[in-house]
Amino acid sequence: MKLFPTQEVGSLMRAPFLRKRLDEIAISEAEYWGRVLGVEGFEVLVDKLRRKEYTQEELRDWASLYAIRLHEAAGLDVVWDGEQKRVEMYEHALRQVRGVEFLGKVKVWDAETYNKAAIRSKPLLVENSYVSEFLFAKKHARRELKVPITGPYTLSDWSFDEYYIAKARPTESLVEKKREAKREMVFDLAKEVVRPVVLSLVENGAYRIQIDEPAATTKPGEVGLFVEAFNEVVKGINARFTIHICYSDYRLLFPHILEAKTHELSIECANRDTVRLGQSERIGYEALRLFREYSANFMIAPGVIDVHSDYIEPPELVRDRLIFAARVLDDPSRIIACNDCGLRTRRWDVAFKKEKSLVLGASLARGAIERS
């Protein structure tokens, strides 16, 4: 297997023609990106946009195709469609579940919010857009695909609980009652929602599946629960799994994460690193020492591209980050080159340059290791 294989993490900003205002600028961008990325038949889309003869479903298919081509044109080994057909990672997942009701916006910070749902009865997957989304991508992709899905712990932690807490057995301690309710909620989401999605994808040919769990370390006492739920999701399924956790205190994962039946763990590092070149000291990658110390046996995908900045990391910086990570783990074959997280907040021109830099930097690192 080649050293430092490259992959993305999931989301991309919506394609220009999915914006609310579909004006001439957006149409020109559709034409520009169609040409730059070599999207087959993009002229048909542009013509439809100009004549205003399209359906939203058609546009979402085109967006999916454009995003796949963006990742492929950048040269990534493993690609996805940038979640062009999804609202966002939480709401998209729970919109397909019975027993869930969205209650309204809650603050995440300042003016940033998300639409938060309450679990009101036992959750049950009643729609599954993931399969058609995957089959479309599979039909068009020229590289291997990795499908991102939000994990059960995060779905639970980001939701209100109006069902389990109400039916939990009365105890003197609300703390204990909450603990029992949370455990049951997480496991129901694992068994009744996330696992059926994963099974359906694998039955339809998906092999690489990424379980997104950004909430994994939110409650330090529940990291073990997150791992148990992940294992419940993937139990006995023949696929290659990645867990993605970002903007977290990775120390809190230990020792529980060692029990996770995952092949890869994707974490954010670039955001906490400096942009100085150098392979002897990289503050953003210090967390990797824990994985070596605990002899973690899965591959690590440390983010070498910061998704919260328009700064385009030079390939040499990507190279240095990868080589440093390889030295910390004492094994370059265990490192995957990827972004910190999805590139949803970056413009396509920025995202494209960042992904190209990722690929070039991985190539430089590969060359340096092979020469040494």
Partner: protein, 323 residues
């Protein structure tokens, strides 16, 4: 057992409505003026106040709708502090901007008057919520003070100066939100500094002083918190097993957060009474207050309103002598 409660008040700030959230977003994008956002926030604050008056709450919270987070007014306006990175607010999917202390703290402007609609609170027994000084310190990045104790005490002085700046329109009740006091057990030196900071505030403030302990087990601050110069200690029974604080006595009021402000499930009157009873059985206080376990900003506004209403209904029932 007859449960008697003396007072009822919110245990934290209120959430913004979706309309106000969108106005703040437009402001951030440069599509709305600050004055216009303040105007909308003022109308909402007025409604929040009126709701609590109608419901018969003992102390009325203004909602603190202009505050992005509880530390922000100080992080933005104190000399010696600059805004730092987004940081998780304890174990929530909520983030605050971490204050970075770059030089010793000082006040050059009246901060609270920029953030609280005091003109809406005339002749009202109102409640203000501020960060407890040790909590402020522990949530900041200290790049200046050689002794962290000095930072804690300086922040206590800042609180006193701010309260004085409100002159005749100050709050009747000051709640210091203090999750950092219970995240872990503090050592004896830390405890003494916390108590000293509370003493500074108590001596400089004529109203009632409350410390609210939430998100973690209140027993981490027992029994020393009961000896601190406080009128009210608040606890979060959703994070504290009452059995862990059994047998303690308190000469002040114990505020029991019987409403879980982090979950949309609206507790029934019976559940509220059961929660209160479980605490009253364990801690012998001079009196008891009914409150929420923390801020209500984890909820969409209409859910928060429903929870406030339930709190007030339970209070009325308890005041009626419900046993």
């Amino acid at each position: 057992m007859v449960l008697e409660v003396d007072a009822c008040h919110l245990g934290g700030v209120m959430p913004r409505s979706e309309e106000l959230i969108m106005a703040f977003r437009r402001l951030a994008e440069g599509r709305e003026s600050y004055d216009s956002v303040v105007g909308l926030a003022r109308r909402e604050a007025s409604a929040v106040i009126e709701m609590q008056r109608r419901l018969g709450m003992t102390y009325i919270a203004e909602g603190q709708l202009l505050w992005h987070d509880i530390l922000r007014p100080f992080a933005e306006h104190l000399e010696g502090v600059k805004l730092g990175p987004l940081t998780r607010w304890f174990d929530n999917n909520l983030f605050y901007k971490r204050p970075i202390i770059v030089s010793n703290l000082s006040r050059t402007t009246r901060i609270l008057e920029k953030y609280v609609f005091t003109d809406l609170l005339k002749e009202i027994n109102w409640k203000l919520i501020l960060p407890e000084p040790y909590t402020f310190y522990s949530l900041s990045i200290n790049q200046s003070y050689n002794r962290w104790e000095d930072l804690v005490l300086d922040f206590a002085e800042i609180i006193v100066e701010e309260l004085r700046s409100l002159e005749g329109s100050g709050p009747a009740l000051l709640q210091l939100s203090a999750p950092s006091l219970v995240e872990n057990r503090l050592d004896i030196d830390q405890v003494e500094t916390v108590k000293e900071a509370l003493r500074v505030i108590k001596n400089g403030f004529s109203g009632l002083l409350m410390v609210h302990l939430f998100f973690h087990d209140a027993s981490n601050a027992f029994p020393w918190i009961l000896d601190a110069p406080l009128d009210i200690v608040g606890i979060d029974p959703f994070s504290t097993d009452p059995g862990e604080i059994r047998g303690y006595s308190f000469e002040g009021a114990l505020a029991v957060g019987c409403i879980d402000a982090r979950n949309s499930y609206v507790e029934s009157n019976e559940e509220i009474v059961a929660i209160l009873s479980s605490v009253v059985e364990c801690v012998n206080a001079k009196s008891y207050h009914l409150t929420t376990n923390t801020d209500l900003e984890y909820l969409p506004r209409r859910v928060a309103d429903a929870k406030v209403e339930r709190l007030a209904v339970a209070y009325r029932l308890l005041r009626g002598g419900m046993s």
